[in-house]
Structure formats: structure tokens, C-alpha cells
Amino acid sequence: MSTEQIPALRLENIVKTFPGVRALDGVSFTVMPGEVHALMGENGAGKSTLMKVLGGIHQPNEGQIFIEEQPTVMNSPLDAKAKGVVFIHQELSLADELPVAENVYLGELPRKSFGRVDWSKLHADTDEILKRLNVGFGPKDLVGDLSIANKQMVEIARALTVEAKAVIFDEPTASLTDAEKSVLFEVIEDLKSRGVGIVYISHRMEEIFRISDRVSVLRDGQYRGTLETADTNEDEVTQLMIGRSLDLSRNVQHGELGAVALEVRNLSCGNLYQDISFQVREGEVVGFYGLVGAGRTEIAETLFGLRDPTAGTILLDGKETTIHSPIDAIEAGISLVPEDRKGQGLVLGMNCRDNMTLPQVDDMTAGSFVSDGAEVAIFDQYRDKLEIKTPGWKQLVGNLSGGNQQKIVIGKWLSMHPRVLIVDEPTRGIDVGSKSEIHKLIRELAGQGYAVIVISSEMPEVLHVSDRIIAMFHGRITRTFTSDEVTEDNLVQAISGITPEQGAA
């Protein structure tokens, strides 16, 4: 480290304890001006606690924060911002009903006498920042009307209202398309060239390797080391994160394929998707890959009876089937593990057993009372089968880790003996270690003869678990790949609406 440069931000030996937990155990971390410093770690490794300490939401029990080598105490998020540390949150923190300008200067509206808002200054200042970001919307546009990417830009615009010394990006690309990501990376480059220190938190390796200069890793609240991005690779980072290496290679093991379990012919649903046809065989995993809004989830919802198609037919075992409700779907043997596990898949305040037996509790009665024994038997069976780690069936599902929660949802549907299992974003918000377990489980289920549909926004995941991959763009299937012919390049082309060269495959 050169002597003339002082760090933009330095954390020294930060300790933060909560009752019974040592969330941060002596974490040190330095960000130089003009550096993109990636921060990685599994869920629960302490990243978010560290950021809360940095943002003044929590006060550290020990340790010190330095901004340009000045010891600093962060009293509140606003205080942190005033001191030059700005956060760009993963969860958009915007007021949808308000215009862009008021969101950019949220909490800091320029004032005139009598507490009046200085509108002309507000609009002029916002306009200047938006010009710097080179965005296609103006200060008076309503935030609720903007795309997710543009909302992200509003968040970034907020960071530019002060002379930031350090900007923290927390999973900024979670909901961005590739084109939008490029814009974001340009903004990061621009901040970098202005000498701002950048902390970049992400689970996505390819992004880390694309934009970061150094990577620091946390595990179990402890600092595990810093690597120069140029001198390391994904394996090394993963090993630091989980203490072992992970197999995320292409799926090669093809199971025995049985008869066609599910066939969809020319299915359409209004503007959401059109003319969808595909088949899934027993023992096969079909991956659906595409950008957010490409219509993948909506197809799953149609198959599960949550939406009525406007045209097309669904065939199960070669017989035409109409599905108007989840009850129809379950009876026909289709199950959906939804995208939003906590919101759509589980009743968080209920215990593990009750969640698992939720769809069949009607059938488990002794007289007019629910039979406890039968429920526990089912729970035990699938706990063992799926290796769900929980102290017992009485544990509230909300207290389980993401991976175990997902297994409860999967167990719930397996206990209904489905033919077709649809899994939407199987590992969203699940940490790296548990991800591979879920992937293994999906392959095993296919091996047992289930027809499985996996919808995912993560390319490595789709590549890893699928026998065939269906690429979607704007509500249409653009191409279907077998796992032998798919490459990252042709998959990206297919989901971006770029027509593949004829005869390439």
C-alpha cells in the first residue's frame, strides 16, 4: 500500500454481540479511494450486521470506524451519510407515490422560510445528478412508474447528493437485467474514477470477478481474509466462504427418461406469455431460464391453477386436463414450490409439521379432529428423506434456515405424491452451502421418476441441474437446449432476444 494514499474507510477489530450471539468477532476491513472492494460471505456470516454497524443502525461493542483515518462514530443512517458513507440497499427503499426528486432528497428536502420546500432548487439539483447518471427519466416522474432498474438508479442518485467517500452497494443487481447491470457497472466505474471507495456485496461470483479489485470474506462473524481479485479464482473464494469447495459444474448425469408426464401446447395468457409449447418427461429436469418478467413464473402459476390461460392446452400423461385452481392442480399431480418461499410457500408462524401437512390436513382427520400421529409420521418420513435439520416438528418454520425452509416446502409437496414438481427459484436467498444440497435433491427427485421443472434466474444453477433448458424472452420461448449443446454465450443470446445463427445447433 502506497504511503501517500490513506484509506477512504477503515474498520478495525469490530465486535458486535447480541444476546447469545457474537455476530461480528473482530472484523477488520479497509477500502482505499478508487477501489471496488467486494465483501462476500454466506447468509448469516455477518455481512449485514457489519453494514448496520457501518451505517449507524447498530453500535459496535468494540472496535473503531475510521473515515480517512479519522476515528468516527456513526449515530444514525443519516449521520453516516453526512459523514460520507452512503448505502445503496438491495431492498429498494423508495416511496413509490412520490416523484423522483423528492425521493432523491428524501429526508433532506431543501427548505425556504416557513418550512416551505424549495422546489426550484430541488428540481435543479436533482436534474444535475440525473444528467450525471445519464438516465431516461426526469425529476418530476413518479417513482412508481419506473422500472426496477430505474428505481435502482434513483437509489444511486441519492448516494450522489453528498460528497461520498465510500459507497456501499448491497446486492445491487438482484433484480437487474444484463443491460441494466452494465449501466450500473459504468456508474461504479465513474464513482471509482472520482476516488470514491466502493464496497460491493454480492453472491454472484461473475460480478465480483468482473468489477472488484479485492475480495474480503466473512464466515461466522469472523474475518477470513482478503484476496486480490486478479490473483484468485472462484474456487478459492468459495473455499474461504464455506470452508470447502463446491461443485457447480454442468449437469452431465442424465437419468433414465420415462414417458412424457406433462405436455403444454400453444399455451398463452394475455400479454404475459404467448404460444408456449414444451414437454417434460418422467425423470427429467427441465430448466426455464430468462430475465425477470420473461413470463417463466406466470407459466408456472398457470400450470398450478393460479391463472387461467387465454389459449392452449395442458396434457398430463397424454390426457387433456383443465386446471382452474391449485386444488385441480394438486389432484392432477402438479405441485409448485413458489419463488417467494416466505411469502407464498410457508406459514412462518406455524411449526414444521403443520406446514408440511398443510395441503392434506383435511384427509388426516380422526373423527372431526386432526390426527396428530398421522401428521407426525409424515413429517418424520420427509425429514429423514430430505435431511431437514430441525430440533423437532414443533419448531416454528420462521426459525429455520433458508435451505431447511425450502426443504419443508418440497417435502410438503412430495408428501402429496405429485407427478410434476415445479420449483421456482429453488435457491433464492439460500446460502452457498445449502444451495448444493438443494441442487442435489432436485437431481435425486428426477432420479426417482418425478418430472421436474426448475425456474431460475441464475445461470450456473440452470446449467447445473437441467437436462434441457428452455430459454424465454418477452413471454416467448426463443430456444430449447439440451445440456450438451448449451453454452453460456448461446444461452445469454437466447434470453436477450438475439436470434441465434441458423444451423448453429
Binding site: 427503499s93 413509490d96 428524501l106 428536502l109 427548505r111 420546500v117 426526469g138 391463472r307
Partner: protein
């Protein structure tokens, strides 16, 4: 972006379109079905309607602020009655009685302070305990009403001061005083909500409270101020009404909160906060008053009026929902 601006204007305009429809309907129906000789649309009748809209309308302005802020206040009806008692009774207190007519401003001041105090209590409890505003003000509704009954039991409280009645019945420039008070309140509250930092922060808090907290907005104090404001407006409404009548029953103001919330929601304010318009609330109040008065004019009884307004409320919110989201993109339940 243009489209959304248009859509918003159309939404705010909808309530006025509804009012025009009501005017046309009652104007024509009144010709055939009315018991009286006068036309429904006669200027005197319309001015009377505005005057009768003022007490509910003034409180509805406050309710709009509180609801934009993401809260609600169910205690306004009880506050309304309590302030009336304080105003009327205080004029007989030994300290004020000897002042003669000079007791009037003091009585008014005491009523306003009572309203603000009730609002302050609500606001502080909502802020400091974190209990949902619905529950806090539901408790306050019962509690404040309890205070009203403790004052005089089942007996009405009355005090007639003819000077006060004269002031209340005066009509500067030919416009009855309650309408003027209502108009001034509309202007001031509109200015607060649209031109001041406090007003804009209130919107932001109601829209996304977490974002507001993260941005360093002092959410609690803003909420308290808004409760104080609605308390003040409830007291002001009470003053404009009871200065004229001079007598308050312990049951007065009951169900006011529900009429007011109905009007505010009809005006397009979101129950969850973040969106709402002062002007549209005025539209909501006028629409309800027109409906009540119009149905009465063509001979419907109160029960019928309630049934119709209740149905309209649900129908309007259903329409709003259908227009706001594309039906096809919504999941079936």
C-alpha cells in the same frame, strides 16, 4: 410518464364527475319526487349543503393528513363532542363567566387546546408504544367518549350566548361563516401538504416508512404533529357547529369518524398511506353530503341513505382496484 400523469388527473377528477352526476340526478329526480316546491339545485339549498358539509369536512381534512401519513384516527367524533363540552361549559366557570362576551375567545381557545391535547395524546402513544394507530385511536375513541359522559352523565350540556350565536350565524360577504372557515382550512391544509417539508415528509412516511426512517426523517414527531393537527381541526369543527347550537348531547359526533373515513377514501386516499389529496377529500365530503341530502330530498329515509352510501363506497373501491391493476396480472384467489 405522460400517461400516468393523465391517469392521476383522471382519478382525482373522478370524484368531481361523480358529484356532477349526483347534481344532475337529484336535479331531475327532485322535480318529480320532491315533497317541496323548491328545486334541489336552488342556490339557497346548495349554500345550506355547503354549510352542513363544513363540520365533517373540516375534520376530514385532518383525517386525510393522518391517513396520508399511514395512520388513522377513530377518536375524532369523541374529540368533537369533548371540545364542545369544554367550550360551552367553560363559559359558566367562575373565572370566565364575569368576562361576559369576552369569555367567548377564551372558551374557543380552551376548546382548541383540548382538541390539540387529545391529538397529542394519540400521537405520543402511537409513536412511543408502536401500537397500531387503529387500536390506539379505537381505545381513544372509547376513552374520550367516556370523558364526555363523565362530564354530565346522560344530560346535554348547554350554554346559550347570543353574541356567540350571532358570530356563528354571521355571513361575511354573504357567505355563512362555517363555509369560510372550511375554505380557509382547505387552503391552509393544502399548503401544508403540498408546499412544506412537513407535508412532503408525511407523504413519504406513509408511502414507505422504512425508507423514511433510513433517510433520517423523524417519523415519530411528524406523526405526532399530524395528530395534533387533526385534534385542532376536530376542535375547530366543534366550535363552528356548537357556537351556533349552544347545546351538546353526550352522544353527539358518534359515527362521525366512519362518515369521515368514508369521504376520505371516496376521495382516493389510500388506507395504507402515501397517497391522498386534500382537494379530492373535499370532493368526497361533498359527494356524501349531496347523497344524504339528495336522497332525503326525494323522500328516502336514513336507513336507505346508509345502504346506498355503503354500497357506493364498496363499488367505488372495486372500480378503483380494477382500473389500477390489470385484472389479468392479478392472481386468482
Amino acid at each position: 410518464m405522460q400517461k400516468s400523469v393523465l391517469k392521476n388527473h383522471a382519478k382525482e377528477g373522478a370524484i368531481w364527475g361523480f358529484i356532477v352526476l349526483e347534481l344532475i340526478f337529484f336535479g331531475i329526480a327532485g322535480e318529480y319526487m320532491s315533497m317541496t316546491e323548491t328545486a334541489f339545485l336552488a342556490p339557497d339549498n346548495m349554500i345550506l349543503l355547503l354549510k352542513q358539509s363544513a363540520p365533517l369536512g373540516i375534520i376530514a381534512l385532518g383525517m386525510t393528513i393522518v391517513m396520508i401519513n399511514g395512520n388513522i384516527d377513530l377518536s375524532v367524533g369523541a374529540t368533537f363532542a369533548l371540545c364542545a363540552i369544554v367550550m360551552l361549559d367553560s363559559m359558566t366557570w367562575p373565572i370566565l363567566a364575569p368576562l361576559g362576551n369576552w369569555a367567548i375567545p377564551f372558551a374557543w381557545g380552551l376548546a382548541l387546546m383540548t382538541g390539540m391535547l387529545m391529538g397529542l395524546i394519540n400521537g405520543l402513544i402511537v409513536w412511543k408504544t408502536g401500537v397500531d394507530a387503529f387500536i390506539v385511536t379505537l381505545g381513544a375513541m372509547l376513552g374520550f367518549r367516556g370523558l364526555v359522559f363523565m362530564y354530565n352523565g346522560e344530560q346535554p350540556t348547554f350554554h346559550l350566548n347570543w353574541t356567540m350565536v350571532d358570530i356563528a350565524e354571521s355571513a361575511p360577504l354573504g357567505i355563512p361563516l362555517p363555509i369560510l372557515v372550511f375554505a380557509v382550512c382547505i387552503a391552509v391544509v393544502w399548503w401544508i401538504m403540498n408546499r412544506t417539508v412537513h407535508g412532503r415528509n408525511a407523504y413519504a412516511i406513509g408511502d414507505n416508512r422504512e425508507a423514511a426512517v433510513n433517510a433520517g426523517i423523524k417519523v415519530g414527531p411528524h406523526m405526532v404533529w399530524n395528530y395534533v393537527l387533526i385534534g385542532f381541526l376536530a376542535a375547530l369543527s366543534s366550535i363552528t357547529f356548537y357556537s351556533e347550537s349552544g347545546s351538546v348531547n353526550p352522544n353527539d359526533g358518534m359515527l362521525y369518524e366512519l362518515w369521515i373515513i368514508t369521504a376520505v377514501v371516496l376521495g382516493g386516499t389510500k388506507l395504507t398511506g402515501g397517497r391522498g389529496s386534500i382537494i379530492a377529500t373535499v370532493g368526497g365530503i361533498l359527494a356524501i353530503q349531496l347523497m344524504r341530502k339528495g336522497l332525503g330530498f326525494i323522500g328516502a329515509d336514513t336507513a336507505m341513505v346508509n345502504l346506498v352510501i355503503g354500497s357506493i363506497l364498496i363499488a367505488v373501491l372495486y372500480l378503483d382496484r380494477q382500473l389500477n391493476r390489470k385484472g389479468e396480472e392479478e392472481l386468482k384467489i
